[in-house]
Amino acid sequence: MNSLPELGTRPVLEARGLTMRFGSFCALDSADFSLYPGRALALVGESGSGKSTCAKLLTHVLTASAGHIFHAGRDVTNLTGRKAVLEYRSAVQMVFQDPFAALNPAHTVDHHLTRPLALHRPDLSSAQRREAVADLLRAVDLDPAITLRKYPHEMSGGQRQRVNLARALAVNPSVVIADEPTSMLDVSIRLSVLDTFRDLKRERGIAMLYITHDIATARYVAEETAVIFRGRIVERGPTAQVIDTPRHPYTRLLLAAVPEVGSPFGEGNSLAPLAAQVRESCEGPAELTEVSPGHWVRLARA
């Protein structure tokens, strides 16, 4: 994976100073990032860090309190009118965290995949639509013959998540926001599901935002990783660099807390003192500064 986008590529989706406030509580504070075609950005953080808020802002479920969102250069921060919203939504799609809740228990897979095609590709005849649905299922590694007539409760978590991805792809989006797509799946199958995400991203040139609290999986999907803590992006850069040479104390804490095979507790690697230290140090104003090409860290002003 190239760690930096090729020179001259324009971002498909950009967030500049994106802020969301709920009353006096600031859920997201001045987020800056760009999504490029065929590349993924991993947004890593705890629950309550603001990453889901980010997803909701980008998909227009929430309207930003401040800041801008640009889609292919156009300012789409405040969209009005059903037509504009529909157009945006056919370009930016979301894959949800809970594979079961994202599918309607009353309908089969066929319904779930036919509807987006019926809405966004009215030019297709019903035979062409059927073929397109079958193609989508094959693209996510599911057998159309078996899967089409299944109800959500008849499928496993991994299969449901693949159907969710197929549904998002049905409208031919340029951006896919994946909100913790594997966190409710068993660890053993996460990789195979993430492979599908990564392959489709490359094949179709889709820009992807991969939201997760599991930083270990970022390496397998995303070229770039941003770490978010208490509503602010504290570090952003090429994934390998952020994981191997973290610069922000919170990133270091996160990496130290990730379960790693074969390093049992108690042998002098306790987290508690580091955690307390980090939580104190993360208050107060700080700027994002570039510490190496493409690698930005929010360091406290001296």
Partner: protein, 300 residues
């Protein structure tokens, strides 16, 4: 839907209830054929006691109570189903709309719902009926339907509100589905069991309320229904002269039919709440279990 019906009939309570309701429906459909006597003819002596010829005795006017009960089934059931349908359609439409759209729409609809709930239904219906004069069953059905939808609306709204937040509804909206499609095709299919429950409950309520109104004299005395039978029995002092059968027949009909509906609703409740379902273990499975554990000397 197929699974729903299968579960419904697998449940013994529901099967009995369904059988009772089906029986009454058949009686209502075949009333002119099944009733032994003409209901408007004097075919027996006044207040004749039950006998082989008149199984449920006769009224003060010498009319056969059994035949009247059979014909009354027709009227009562038609009113019951019609009013029940009206109540359910109104309640569901208002409840789901309020639950889905929220905001101003919800506020306005809630206002109407609250008004409908707060005003005591029966006195309102009595006032309306008295105002309109001698009201036939059709008008009674309409009055019941237009005043009793509040509870169903409230319950459906609550369920719609909770489902509204599910990811799959949001996903459908994000795909660009128009609101009416999301409500009709994504939301409503998941509300079937609560709508069904309301429907059955509404029919029960309607049948009893109709009987009540007619008993109080607000119906058309020329029409034969369970309620008007009670009215006539009352106005001819049937109980006081010992002609208990004239009261008993329509009461019994109401009670049995009502029980049938309630039994069906037990099963609908089980369908809606799967946890109630699993407590039932098929007898043969249980037998295999106890055999196995006693063979091994362990405990179940």
């Amino acid at each position: 839907m197929r699974g729903l019906l299968k579960t419904l009939f697998a449940n013994r309570k529901a099967a009995i209830g369904a059988a009772i309701v089906a029986f009454f429906i058949l009686v209502a459909l075949a009333a002119p054929l099944v009733a032994p006597f003409d209901i408007n003819q004097r075919v027996a002596s006044p207040h004749e006691a039950p006998s082989a010829e008149h199984v449920m005795g006769a009224t003060r006017m010498g009319r056969d109570v059994l035949s009247q009960t059979i014909h009354g089934t027709q009227t009562s059931l038609i009113v019951g189903f019609a009013a029940g349908l009206l109540v359910t359609v109104l309640g569901t439409a208002i409840g789901v709309t309020a639950g889905y759209f929220g905001g101003k729409v919800d506020e306005v609809l809630n206002l109407f719902t609250n008004i409908s709930l707060v005003i005591p239904n029966l006195p309102l219906m009595l006032v309306l009926a008295a105002f309109i004069g001698q009201t036939g069953p059709f008008v009674i059905a309409l009055i019941i339907g237009l005043t009793s939808w509040g509870w169903g609306a409230r319950v459906t709204r609550a369920q719609a509100l909770s489902l509204r937040q599910r990811d799959y509804i949001l996903a459908a909206e994000m795909l660009g589905e128009p609101a009416w499609r999301v409500i009709s095709f994504e939301l409503l299919p998941n509300l079937i069991s609560i709508i069904g429950f309301n429907f059955i409950g509404s029919i029960l309520y309607a049948v009893i309320t109709e009987a009540t109104m007619e008993f109080l004299g607000l119906g058309d005395p020329m029409v034969v229904s369970w309620g008007t039978m009670l009215y006539h029995a009352q106005s001819t002092s049937a109980l006081q002269v010992g002609a208990w059968w004239e009261m008993a027949a329509p009461c019994l009909a109401l009670v049995i039919f009502g029980s049938g509906l309630s039994l069906i609703n037990f099963a609908v409740d089980e369908i809606a709440n799967p946890r109630l379902r699993t407590l039932r273990v098929p007898a043969k499975v249980l037998a295999a279990l106890t055999n196995r554990s006693s063979n091994q000397g362990g405990r179940a």
